[in-house]
């Protein structure tokens, strides 16, 4: 069986395990979501009605089958706190998470690659040491801590950028560009805090693979054939590092939803990460499960895509 097909089959297996695990754990969790949903002072009769309405009075196994059946037909259950279908709520948030991640990528990937190449071509120089030190620092610290410090400096003290959210509250925009500018202003801080963390990943990977390439026989052979230094660096060594960059990008995109939970919380960004926190707060089990389910599919799909990219950019890679 071709490797990619095997991977494709792996996705539903992972999702099945995750959903099963999640479903049964949620069922046995302490606290009654129905009581929470109904609010204080609800009569037992009212609770019963809600239970009936949502099918929560049926046997556990029946509920599980219902849930599974629903998942494959696009009915992911009903969010208790939003009173709307889970999938709708998730898909409504996803563009914001994608926008934030995309903005961070736009900064992180090019900057990281440039820093890595500079460090690799100036190996052991003060410049390399500086880049390494910078990388070690941001590699150690989580993005939301960087975010908190940035908010404190730029929003609380200097008051030049908004504290959070994605739009100025109560503002009316006369033009599309005015609205866009407002969105960008809100995007800067969360995107920069994610970008700083991601960036040093790329610079590290780039530096290490390039130093390895630059010391290798084929680069030495190219140099001895009289090929100019820039050409050796960019055509021979650089291209060889792209695979490592793709791998890291795959990890960042795949684990995006988990990675942005805290950053989105710090900045009240209207994405999936913040949705997780809301679901937790309201003990909105169907929503929480839906997010877990959604992010598992996301990881699987991204991994598959990365494998496909491998095959297409590196002829040496033959996936079994």
């Amino acid at each position: 069986m071709p490797y990619l097909v095997k991977r494709l089959i792996q996705i539903p297996v992972v999702v099945l395990v995750v959903v099963t695990l999640g479903f049964f754990l949620l069922k046995f969790a302490p606290g009654d979501p129905v009581a929470l949903f109904a609010g204080e002072g609800a009569t037992p009769e009212y609770l019963e009605t809600i239970r009936k309405e949502y099918g929560l009075d049926r046997p556990l196994f029946e509920q599980y089958l219902m849930y599974m059946g629903g998942i494959f037909t696009g009915r992911w259950g009903y969010s208790l706190s939003f009173e709307r279908p889970v999938l709708t709520v998730i898909l409504e948030r996803m563009p914001y998470t994608l926008l934030l991640s995309f903005a961070a990528f736009l900064v992180a990937v090019p900057m990281g690659i440039v820093l890595g190449v500079i460090a690799a071509t100036h190996r052991s120089s003060p410049l390399d040491l500086f880049v390494s030190g910078f990388a070690t620092f941001f590699n150690s610290v989580p993005a939301f801590i960087i975010g908190l410090v940035l908010v404190y400096i730029f929003a609380v003290i200097m008051k030049v950028l908004p504290l959070g959210g994605f739009q100025t509250v109560g503002a009316t925009f006369t033009s599309f560009f005015g609205e866009l500018l407002d969105l960008l202003k809100h995007l800067i801080l969360p995107a920069v805090s994610l970008a700083l963390i991601w960036m040093v990943g790329y610079s590290r990977v780039m530096r290490n693979t390039m130093v390895e390439s630059l010391l290798s026989d084929y680069v030495r052979a190219a140099t001895s054939r009289g090929i100019s230094r820039p050409r050796v660096v960019y055509r021979h060594a650089f291209r060889n590092s792209i695979l490592a960059v793709v791998t890291l990008a795959g990890i960042h995109v795949g684990y995006m939803i988990g990675g942005v939970i805290l950053t989105e919380t710090v900045f009240s960004w209207f994405g999936i990460g913040q949705l997780v926190v809301q679901a937790v707060h309201f003990r909105d089990y169907p929503l929480l499960l839906g997010i877990l389910f959604f992010s598992s599919i996301w990881v699987g799909a991204v991994n598959l895509l990365v494998d496909a990219i491998y095959v297409s950019i590196d002829p040496r890679v033959k996936l079994r």
């Binding site: 792996q10 297996v13 992972v14 395990v17 995750v18 999640g22 754990l25 949620l26 046995f28 969790a29 302490p30 190996r123 052991s124 390399d128 040491l129 390494s132 070690t136 620092f137 590699n139 150690s140 610290v141 989580p142 939301f144 801590i145 908190l148 410090v149 404190y152 609380v156 290490n208 130093v211 390895e212 010391l215 684990y255 939803i257 988990g258 990675g259 939970i261 805290l262 919380t265 710090v266 997780v276 926190v277 937790v280 707060h281 003990r283 929480l288 499960l289 997010i291 877990l292 992010s295 598992s296 996301w298 990881v299 699987g300 991994n303």
Partner: protein
């Protein structure tokens, strides 16, 4: 840096030992009760009595930061031990191969393809914010990297002569795994454990920051979330003190992991004199 990797390793080791001592004996530096409110009527700036000030409820920030060190070290040690214990499976998978290997690697792949932090949050919500629960959750979801390293090392070690000679001499498989392979796997695993230590601390800080932590535990994450509110009333010290302390510890741990790698696995690093 390239001149004396040993010296920097010693300095880092010393700093971390001091942090550990601080964590073991918080009473050395502070005589106040942790998480006890009402020392001051409200937010108070750093003073002689309260070196790092107090928070909105009049709790002493200095004491909280010191006790937070203890919590972080506890989380790091416990979670890393759990990871290490489960990851030993990787060694068996590598040594015995076949069915054992397949099963262990399937589980590893599966664990790795689940969005870890989302699952940690889900588990923490479900199982309640008990400190022990949180440690168990982080530990049992973070082992695959260590297991993979152990498996890869075992695969290369089991073909080496000293292992083959032990096998020819008739040693029991378990003896070979524990007395021949295990000691030689350690150099590759120890730096990864130092890294896991810091990752576990980050996870716990994150969980507490989200408000899912144990309310009776003085975690840095909780202090940071208190500080996030305090800055609006000018209480920068509540936010910045725990941040500085946790960044300091995390950077030390990461540097330690790097230096240990330089020392134990010099081939992995391409810098220096290569």
């Amino acid at each position: 840096m390239t001149k004396s990797p040993n010296r920097s390793l010693w300095i880092l080791g010393l700093v971390l030992v001091l942090l550990f001592l601080l964590g073991l004996m918080p009473g050395l530096l502070t005589d106040k009760e942790v998480l006890k409110s009402g020392y001051t009527p409200g937010l108070a700036p750093p003073s002689r009595d309260f070196p790092l000030g107090t928070d909105q409820l009049g709790r002493d920030v200095f004491t909280w930061v010191i006790h937070g060190t203890r919590v972080a070290l506890y989380v790091g040690t416990a979670c890393t031990s759990i990871c290490f214990g489960i990851a030993l499976l990787g060694m068996f998978a590598g040594y015995f191969g076949g069915k054992v290997d397949q099963v262990v690697m399937r589980i590893t792949d599966l664990t790795m393809s689940i969005p870890r932090f989302v699952l940690i949050v889900v588990f923490a919500t479900l199982m309640g914010s008990d400190f022990l629960n949180i440690i168990l959750i982080i530990g049992t979801l973070s082992w695959p990297t260590l297991a993979r390293i152990m498996r890869a090392e075992t695969l290369s070690l089991k073909e080496r002569e000293f292992v083959l000679s032990a096998r020819v001499a008739g040693s029991h498989s378990l003896d070979i795994v524990f007395f021949e392979i295990f000691p030689n796997v350690l150099p590759a695993v120890i730096p990864a454990m130092a890294l896991q230590f810091s990752l576990s601390i980050i996870d716990e800080i994150a969980i507490s920051f989200l408000g899912l932590g144990d309310p009776n535990v003085a975690s840095w994450g909780r202090l940071i979330s208190v500080g996030k509110q305090a800055v609006f009333a000018g209480g920068w010290w509540v936010l910045l003190c725990p941040i500085i302390m946790c960044v300091f510890m995390l950077v030390c741990l990461n540097l330690l992991a790097d230096r240990l790698n330089d020392r134990f696995n010099p081939r992995l690093r391409y810098g220096g004199q290569a």
